[in-house]
Amino acid sequence: MDKPHKPHFIRACTYIWLALIILTCITYAIGETGWSGTAVMLTVLGTAVIKVEMVASYFMGLRRTRWLWRGIVLGWLILVSGLITIAYFKSLG
């Protein structure tokens, strides 16, 4: 009964894996250019946030659980990335 569901799940996770690889390469490429500034920082941090959400939802399977569990990880992610952003703006003076 569960079998028809499997290939779809694996295919979805394979696409997620590919997306994670591509996003990592983008982050690395940005780092190698030596670019800095608010837009670059927000792009790099935003990319990390998307990647974490992908891992939590698909690899960890939280998208198939009650919102409470996904909410804890999402809340943690928003809080940590938000504070990192505030610290970055603080560094700009």
Partner: protein
């Protein structure tokens, strides 16, 4: 797939694996979260020092290690999918592959640490290196712990200790391993890239 919407849209009351591991995962997220935020605010007070020191990090090895952990995490997804179909041997093989990539991560990190220490850099060199070394060493220890957990699960899978009905152990190990990956996904851009 279309004929079976119940399976496709099933919502579980608890996350995959033993609930105890999730308490541990949330505690770890909290600890690393504090560490990440402390790094960001320490950087805000020493921007030039952090930016200058960051230039000496090996960004390529950091990026390769990100790819390694993401792929290793994906292998654990496949291990869980295999055991859910009652395939013990393929499950053990996927876990072994995940552990193998864990060793690759450790080898790259050890090489990075060796180069850092060979350059005369230590925890007391400056605030940036204090954070860089302690954060990455803290994460390094979690990778080792994760590999030990995965090895125990792999051996049990090889002995036929899991089945399509009883696979909570594999999900527990996978959840921990995904957390190790998730933390590195933030650590890499924060310490190696953002300036």
């Amino acid at each position: 797939m279309i004929n079976n919407p119940k399976v496709t849209h099933e919502i579980h009351a608890t996350p995959p694996g033993d609930l105890a591991i999730w308490v541990f995962i949330f505690a770890e997220l909290l600890a690393f979260g504090v560490f990440f935020v402390a790094y960001a605010f320490a950087r805000a007070n020493n921007v030039e020092l952090f930016n200058e020191s960051q230039q000496h990090l090996n960004r390529t090895s950091g990026a390769i290690n990100t790819l390694v952990l993401i792929t290793s995490s994906y292998f654990m997804v496949r291990a869980v999918a295999a055991i859910k179909q009652g395939l013990s041997k393929p499950c053990a093989l996927w876990i072994a592959s995940a552990i193998g990539l864990g060793f690759v991560f450790l080898a790259i990190k050890i090489a990075e640490f060796q180069a850092t220490f060979a350059a005369g850099i230590s925890l007391s060199t400056n605030t940036f290196y204090m954070f860089y070394l302690s954060l990455t060493l803290f994460h390094f220890m979690h990778v080792i712990l994760g590999m030990v957990i995965l090895a125990a699960i792999m051996l049990k899978a090889l002995r036929g200790g899991y089945s399509a009905e009883n696979h909570i152990g594999v999900e527990t190990g996978a959840s921990y391993w995904h957390m190790v990956d998730l933390l590195w996904i933030i650590l890499f851009p924060l310490v190696y890239v953002i300036r």
